[in-house]
Structures are given as C-alpha cells and as structure tokens.
Symmetry: C2
Subunit: 254 residues, 2 copies
C-alpha cells in the first residue's frame, strides 16, 4: 500500500492541542491534510452551515502536514475537504483528539463524532478520538501508541462501510492504561439544570449546565470500561432505525 | 386519562406555518405549550448552545396554547422547556411540521428530529413530523387527520422508552395519500457541490449545495414509501452501537 492519505479534523478548533497531537501521530503513518474549524465548535453535533457561506484558508503550522482553517462546523469541514480541498479520496478520516469524553450519549452532541460519522456517510473509514479530560493542557501523550495502533489496524483491516469508531481514552498515565475494550454505548444522560441570572437591564437569561448521570453498570458499557482504566471503542452506525419495534408499531398504526 | 399535556417545538422557528398548523391540531387533543426557536434553525441537528446564554419569552399568538420563543436551537428548546417552562412532565413531545423532508439520512442533520430525539433521551414519547415540501406556504392541511391519529395512537399505546417516531408526509392532496407505512431509514446520501464565488475584495467563499441521492429501492425504505404516496414512519432510537460488528472489531483490535 502507498503511504495512506489522511484527513484530520476536530471540533475544538485547528489550533487546539488535541488536534495538533493527533496530527503529529498521523504524520508518522501517512500524508496528512488537516481541515478543521477556525474557532471552537463544541456541541455543534451534525449541524451544517446553510444560511451563510463558508470560507477556508491555508495556514502555516508546525509539521509536514497541510493545514486549512475553515469557518464552518466539523461536518462542514469534512464536506468541503472532500469536495474542494483534498486532491484524492482519503484512506481514512480521523477526528479529535477531543478535549473531553464523547462516550455514551455524548455521541449525539459531539462535533468530533459527527465529523467522523459524516465521513462514514461518504463511505470512508473514520474514527473519532476523545480524551476524558476537557482541560486545554490535558495530557494527550499517554495514549499515543494506542492511537497509532488503532489507526493502523483500521487501515489494514478495512472496516465495513457505514461503521465508524468512537474511541474514548481514560484520563490516566501511559502505564496505567489497561488496554482496549470493544463496547456498546452506555445508557446514560445529562441531567440539566439551567443557571438563571439577571442582566443589568433586569432581564433573565440562562446558562446551560448539567451533570452526567450513568446508571449503566453493564460489563460491555463504554462508561464502565473507561472507569476501569480501558480505552473504549464503540462501533457506531448511522442507521437510526429501531428494527425491533417495526412490527409492533405497524400493529398500532395500521 | 386527563387531557394530555403536550410540548410542541420545531426548527423552522415559532412563527413558521408548519408549527402553527401542528399546534392547531394538538389543541384538539390536549393542553399545549409551544417552546420553539425565535429564528430559523434548520440543519442545526443536535447542537447545543454552550458559549452564550439562552433567553426565552412568552409571546402572544392565535389559539388557546401558551407560546414561548427561545433564543436557542431545537434541542435547547426541549431542555429549557423541561427544566424551566413546563409545569409538569409532558405526556408527549411533538416537533414540526418541518418545511421539507427528514426521511432517510436527513434524520442526522435535522433540528426537528433532534428535538424529538432529545425528548426521547429524557424518556418521553416523541414524534417529529415533516412534509416533503420546503416552501413557506406548503399545504399542511392534507395530512391533518393522519397527524391527529398518529399522536392519539402514540398516547394510547405507550411507546417503549428510547423509541422516537420520524414521520414524513408526501407532498400530495388529502385524497391522494394512500395511508401509513412503517419503514426503515433508506440508505441514501447528499452529493455535495460547493458553489464557489468571489467577494468584492477578491476572496473566495462557498455556498453549500447538494443533490439528494437515493438508490435504495427496498420495499421497506422510507423514500420508497413516500414516492408511492404513503406517509412513512420510521421508529428511531439513539443507541448508535453497531452490535453486529463488535465481535469482529474485538478480533481486529485485541
């Protein structure tokens, strides 16, 4: 195989330490093009920029890769990279490393995972990487060898079309990480409580805050694997159909 | 059962004809509270407003329902409605009627469906309604009886937790609609082509445009049902795990 052609993106923005680390690891594996948001896009999920046009520009950052900063969301970045920036179809699309976990239900809200899923919709192998530490200066070095291995194995064993990997890394030192566990998405959710404030003109406004709440103690749940010191990998697909409920629903509706 | 307590939302904005029609239909069934975006939020998917605070205000619109316009996304509307606005847990959350189809892969991008899915995450019965006609003055009357029936049946036969309905309505006259088909999400995608332009200062910018492309001719695909004149209902869940691929992936990674 020729040197793999790799697209890198994220949702924290092109200068975030997480994507710089991922780019550095990918440079060891193949020829890398980074197309990532020019500003933080956390929580943007699968949103598209429709009402305003997009822009992108080549920027100079350290390393042999090419870097393009785009004005849009993570999904916009993947779309415009494939249509306008890349010179050929990439062999794989990697997204992250996200500052903060995207395990369990967070896959729904995550721009990092949506970028990977969008690549999956395009029929490309794709992986989202996230670290269970949202700090700007989180330690992205500990999982370097694992990330390299996961990408190399994904390139070697071509994944079936429509399957995207959601990789979450526990906040641990290198020697404390116990290995890799293949998991299902844990059944958990955020319990919201909006923080109510009053502005200087007497009007109320609200900040979204919440507490992550998982009661899923299943051996195969990603949250459980992470809490035990494993890197969790959930194979994700984007056929949302609940096949089990189709027959019963037909009985109710017809 | 008491009169059902119904939350209505959408992504086209609180004054869009689609949500006004849905509200009017829901007023026939129960006590209605509308919490919807104060501006169009199409293509916002499951995005959250994190960096800026939210606002909402009560507004006066025709009908017996209460209306609240919120500055956030459709998912924000559901979250703030449940935490701050509603006086009790709603019996059902309905979203739409969207101006334009949310069949097939569009469920990924749709704010209308994300609002319904968010309600599902909260353990509530939820339905997203969309009409295959994106025009402002689309005919939302044709499917009125069907919408009423679908909501009433969903209230009567309590749906399992974690299942949300994605209802799409063909652009047809009332007498041309053939009935309801329970479907799976069709395997289809958008083929993007960014429209490149140059601004007065000589800089390039891009509008996202695309063509919807479905080659899925399966009898049970939502696109096929719609093209044959049926209302399609896809039961949707938000466990994205690809269970079939877990064992094989474990073999590759471990």
């Amino acid at each position: 195989m020729d040197r793999p052609y790799i697209l890198v993106t994220n949702d924290d923005g092109i200068t975030a330490p997480g994507i710089r680390k991922l780019t550095q690891i990918m440079n060891q594996i193949g020829d890398v093009v980074v197309v990532a948001p020019d500003s933080p896009q956390s929580g943007k999920s699968h949103s598209l920029t429709i009402e305003v046009p997009l822009r992108y520009e080549s920027i100079e950052l350290e390393g042999p890769q090419q870097d393009f900063a785009c004005s849009g969301t993570p999904v916009d970045c993947v779309k415009i990279a494939l249509d306008k920036i890349l010179v050929k179809k990439p062999d794989i699309v990697v997204s992250g490393i996200n500052h903060g976990s995207n395990s369990s239900i967070n896959v729904l809200y995550s721009g990092t995972m949506s970028a990977a899923i969008e690549a999956g919709v395009e029929g490309l192998p794709a992986i989202g990487f996230s670290l269970q530490d949202f700090r700007y200066d989180a330690d992205f070095d500990a999982a370097e060898d694992y990330i390299k291995e996961i990408v190399q194995k994904s390139l070697k064993h071509s994944m079936p079309k429509g399957v995207v990997l959601n990789v979450n890394i526990p906040k641990l030192k290198k020697e404390e990480i116990k290995g890799i566990k293949i998991c299902r998405q844990a059944d958990a959710k955020w319990v919201e409580s909006f923080d109510e404030r009053i502005n200087p003109h007497g009007k109320k406004y609200y900040w979204l805050t919440g507490k992550f709440n998982s009661n899923d103690e299943g051996e195969d749940a990603d949250e459980v694997a992470l809490s035990r010191g494993y890197i969790s990998i959930v194979p994700v697909n984007f056929d949302f159909t609940d096949y089990h409920y189709m027959k019963e629903l037909d009985r109710i509706m017809n």
